[in-house]
């Protein structure tokens, strides 16, 4: 039997909250060979272990946390840990990635992966102190906001500030379907509702302390490669822009090209964007910079504002948050955007989904579908920052009108009979790029296994210099980008590293770190295998072509103004082309020959 990668621990920690059983397992070599780790290995375990048709908020769902083989080595920006689960928001396979320090700490504690299953009768938190793992009572923490809860946990465990805590807030406890899991206070497993799954299991937090070490296969060569990579980051304009302005550096370009989602995707240009661009943000609100573990870029921006006289201080804002809580709600003042972000951060909600859900409600209000009596007297007009803040708080508490919206935009729109204004795919709200202005993103949103998530294949960078409106030929680009993202996510790199780390460089870092020698061709095959595994999970749950779709607005209405004016999307043609390049049939189901080629025939269910 081959040996596990040098830079891996080879161990999986399994915690069953029903039986309180805590056990360790070896991770077989083939998991690393076929899926690398992170997102890929998570998808493999979820597909293998979850029965068909599991209710996402029942004790049968699992949270599969998986680190990557480069985490804990010198590799730059290697800090992302994934959680894989069946989503309560979409009922599909779902996966969220979290940066910060929690993932590396888990690995230093001796585990590549952690599977949480079952459901505790009473609220508990998990304490992983290297090899000693225990469940602790958490009734006194239930209901607490995230900063308080994570500080309490650290205090209880010996006032050790370096303990890393991933926890949920009241939103997760109340099964808010947009709830996230927050690590280190400011880093989230954001999209898809992992926080609600954790809440349904009565698990408040996972605290980790790791004092172990990570080895590298060829440390001398690794050190010299990493030194040259640091220099490349220093000289890279895109990386430099990230260092200075965080992800908000993208705002100006996307807005000027006319595909920045504005007023619930009814427009592609936000006139208030000028107040929110990177240099303005830096001048007006940023107080310092922050980084995740081992990252030389440091895109995190600590910001401070005063909202109605009370201080708001948080790490953020990043581009998607500014887009969905800002432009998409027509709000252009930092005070309201940051206050709403703080509510999401403290209660534990995905800022993107919350922003998209509020903008949906705003459009319903403006169109007269709902009125003041429905919204608990909140004047839900686009641009009303106070309404944004009030509604975010109501959603967090499931209070009044917020209770309906906490179910997510899909269910809320069905109850209000306003499906045309719910901008989601498979239940997950879109990111802040209007796909009519960048057609690869249309295919990305429609075919993403976890719903309309942009980072499954962010094709903007490749499309903007070329013909971003072309539909033909985009399937190949989307497939290629999806594969590259599957690799980045499975190795444990932050996607921002791609500016400098090509697949070649990632492969070299993997080899020098872990000792795994995988050809470039095989790397691409691994990426493709991951996409197919994710697809097979969804097909088992009854998803197929009919679900690979976009809101009607994009298919039937054109953007009216700006540099993307006149464009809508012919999705069906793009889908045909995409299925063909993927080796899937007309219904979007992988052909048996494709599964055989990828050595995953055992998961076929045709």
């Amino acid at each position: 039997m081959e040996k596990i990668p040098v830079s891996s621990t080879g161990k999986l920690l399994r915690v069953n909250l029903s039986s309180k059983e805590i056990s360790q397992e070896s991770i077989p070599f083939h998991v690393y060979r076929d899926y690398l780790g992170g997102r890929g290995a998570g998808a493999y375990y979820l597909l293998k272990e979850l029965a068909k048709g599991v209710d996402p908020l029942s004790e049968d769902n699992k949270l599969v946390f998986f680190t990557g083989p480069v985490i804990g080595t010198l590799a730059p920006g290697s800090n992302k840990v994934s959680v894989t689960f069946k989503s309560p928001l979409t009922n599909t396979y779902s996966m969220s990635l979290c940066g910060g320090f929690w993932g590396p700490e888990l690995k230093f504690a001796g585990y590549d992966a952690l599977i949480i299953e079952g459901k505790s009768e009473k609220p508990v938190y998990l304490w992983i102190d290297n090899g000693e793992v225990s469940l602790k009572a958490a009734e006194h923490l239930w209901g607490q906001l995230i900063p308080k809860a994570s500080d309490e946990v650290k205090k209880e465990l010996g006032n050790d500030n370096t303990i890393r805590v991933a926890c949920i807030g009241p939103a997760g406890e109340k099964l808010n379907k947009m709830a996230c899991i927050t690590a280190d206070r400011h880093r989230e497993f954001g999209r898809g509702g992992a926080g609600a799954v954790m809440g349904s299991k009565n698990l408040k937090a996972i605290a980790v302390r790791g004092t172990g070490e990570i080895q590298m296969s060829q440390k001398g060569k690794m050190a010299s490669l990493v030194k040259t990579l640091y220099q490349e980051f220093k000289g890279h304009p895109k990386a430099n822009a990230r260092t200075r302005y965080g992800t908000v550096e993208m705002l100006e370009g996307i807005n000027n090209l006319g595909f920045w989602s504005t007023r619930n995707f009814s427009q592609g240009y936000f006139e208030g964007g000028e107040k929110l661009v990177g240099p303005k943000m830096r001048d007006d609100i940023v107080v310092s910079d922050a980084s995740c573990y081992a990252c030389p870029i440091g895109c995190g921006k600590n910001a401070r504002v005063y909202y109605k006289g009370s201080r708001v201080h948080l790490e953020g804002p990043e581009f998607e948050t500014v887009g969905l809580l800002g432009a998409n709600c027509g709000v252009d003042d930092w005070e309201s955007i940051l206050k709403a972000t703080e509510i999401c951060d403290y209660y534990g909600m995905d800022t993107m989904a919350v922003g998209a859900t509020i903008s949906f409600a705003m459009e319903c209000f403006e169109k007269g579908i709902i009125g003041l009596k429905d919204t608990d007297n909140i004047e839900l007009k686009f641009g009303n920052g106070d309404a944004l803040v009030s509604l975010a708080e109501k959603i967090a508490n499931r209070d009044g009108f917020g209770d309906l919206l906490a179910e997510g935009v899909k269910i809320a729109s069905e109850k209000l009979n306003a499906q045309d204004y719910a901008m989601h795919s498979k239940g997950l709200p879109l990111a802040t790029y209007d796909p009519r202005g960048c057609k690869g993103m249309a295919l990305t949103y429609a075919t993403s296994p976890k719903g309309a998530h942009h980072m499954i294949s962010p094709t903007m960078g490749a499309e903007i210099p070329g013909d971003r409106f072309a539909e033909e030929g985009k399937a190949g680009l989307v497939k290629d980008t999806q594969i590259q993202m599957a690799l980045v996510d499975s190795l444990g790199f932050c996607s921002t590293m791609r500016f400098v780390l090509s697949v070649d460089k990632q492969q070299q870092l993997l080899e020098l770190g872990s000792g795994l020698e995988i050809s470039k061709e095989d790397m691409f095959k691994i990426g493709e295998r991951i996409l197919n595994i994710e697809r097979l999970f969804n097909i088992r749950e009854g998803f197929n072509r009919k679900d690979d779709t976009l809101p009607n607005r994009f298919l039937k209405e054109v953007i009216k103004e700006g540099l993307s004016a006149g464009h809508s999307i012919n999705l069906e043609k793009m889908l045909d082309e995409y299925y063909q390049v993927m080796g899937w049939d007309r219904n979007g189901i992988p052909e048996e020959s494709k599964l055989a080629e990828l050595n995953i025939s055992q998961f076929g269910n045709k």
């Binding site: 010198l74 230093f108 070490e213 050190a223 310092s288 081992a294 030389p296 870029i297 440091g298």
Partner: protein, 159 residues
């Protein structure tokens, strides 16, 4: 009169990436392990401040003075404190005496970890992406901070 350089830190520039910790543990132990690093970045989560805790090679050094086993001495070439692992009994008196909190106990529990300035080529400084850590003559320490403070005065306000 020694003309040794010292480690200096400008915590305003630190982003908390802990790359310094990685290179420190690699150069001394050949592995990546934050607890084996002699430099440690402490993040205050409420404010997001990152404070790298470093050895300032005090002179006279309380750690050297207090060591009952004479395990600590001064490297004359670099001015760095040297730990003789054979003599160290891990009594931790030096840890308590250190005004910076820059000394830690090794994972073995048998000896202490003190910055040795990497024989005059500190790896933490060499790889710091923001130049938050520098290795300079003592009289140079703090010039950049002074410039920043002067600019604040010029603006007539607080930072």
């Amino acid at each position: 009169m020694m003309r040794n350089k010292v480690l200096a830190v400008d915590y305003h520039k630190c982003i908390g990436c802990r790359i310094c910790e990685q290179w420190c543990s690699l150069s001394h132990h050949g592995v990546i392990s934050p607890v084996k690093a002699r430099v440690k970045v402490h993040r205050i989560e409420e404010t997001g401040a990152n404070i790298p805790v470093i050895c300032t090679q005090c002179n006279p050094a309380p750690c050297v003075s207090i060591c009952p086993e004479n395990a600590l001495s001064r490297d004359l070439k670099t001015g760095a404190v040297r730990v003789n692992d054979d003599l160290c009994v891990a009594c931790r008196k030096c840890m308590n005496a250190c005004p910076n909190g820059a000394i830690s106990l090794d994972t073995s529990g048998e000896t202490v970890l003190i910055c040795d300035l990497c024989k005059g080529k500190p790896q933490c400084v060499a790889q710091c992406p923001t130049n938050s850590l520098t290795y300079v003559l003592p009289e140079i320490v703090g010039r950049e901070q002074r410039t920043r403070i002067a600019r604040c005065f010029e603006k007539g306000g607080r930072e």
